[in-house]
Symmetry: C2
């Protein structure tokens, strides 16, 4: 999942290409950056380099603007979205930790059982075999 994200945030496209892909003017794109709706990378020579994520954002900005929402509103919408994403990500990770922990518990139990096998002969393998040797 993360590999794809890296790819989508890779700075690849010049402003000329982005203009074509989004049908926005350079002025518009720069203006939206000025208002922090996107934050494209820069080359050593200070040229903007846009990622696929940037392009997605620009298309969304365009769409929302056409719906009559102003830049302030769009910015807020983005920040809310961002929050939601962070939260779901946190939940996901918590879920993963929970799973991992229960796995650890499970292994602990199994390990205890195996170690106890010396004294109390009721280990799994013996239990299985006992069907044939009684």
């Amino acid at each position: 999942m993360s590999g794809n994200n890296i790819r989508r945030s890779m700075p690849l496209f010049s402003i000329g290409i982005v203009m074509q892909l989004t049908e926005l003017s350079a002025r518009q794109i720069r203006y939206y950056e000025e208002h922090q709706l996107i934050t494209p990378m820069r080359t050593e020579g200070n040229r903007r380099l846009f990622s696929l994520n940037d392009i997605d954002r620009l298309l969304e900005v365009k769409d929302l603007l056409e719906q009559g929402i102003n830049l302030a509103g769009i910015k807020k919408i983005f920040s809310v979205k961002e929050e939601v994403e962070v939260e779901t990500e946190t939940i996901k990770q918590a879920e993963k930790i929970r799973r991992d922990l229960t796995d650890v518990e499970l292994r602990k139990l199994l390990r205890a059982e195996l170690l106890q096998g010396g004294k109390n002969r009721t280990s799994l393998r013996q239990g299985d075999m006992s069907r044939f040797f009684h």
Copy 2:
């Protein structure tokens, strides 16, 4: 399938980006173009614009060169590959045509059967109903 191909042949990347992605020098890239291993598009202002396919090709060129194959060899390899691709495409299409034709045959048969229902009363529906009205 074709939509993806269009995307992969879309002229998007400047030579600077391609240099970074392929770790080839501009000289090398232009030289390979000169020898028709790639044919990037041009902007109105005569700048090269590379597609994902171009980049793939360049990486393959690089790889084959490192294996000691010269440009002539690489060119031949590409043309052979191209031929193979064309052939498999042709086979695929022939296969599709065959399928479509047999479908047509099938429908023809069904249609003939339905039309004949007026004279010889053994149509499917009547056949079904006859179980209850005998």
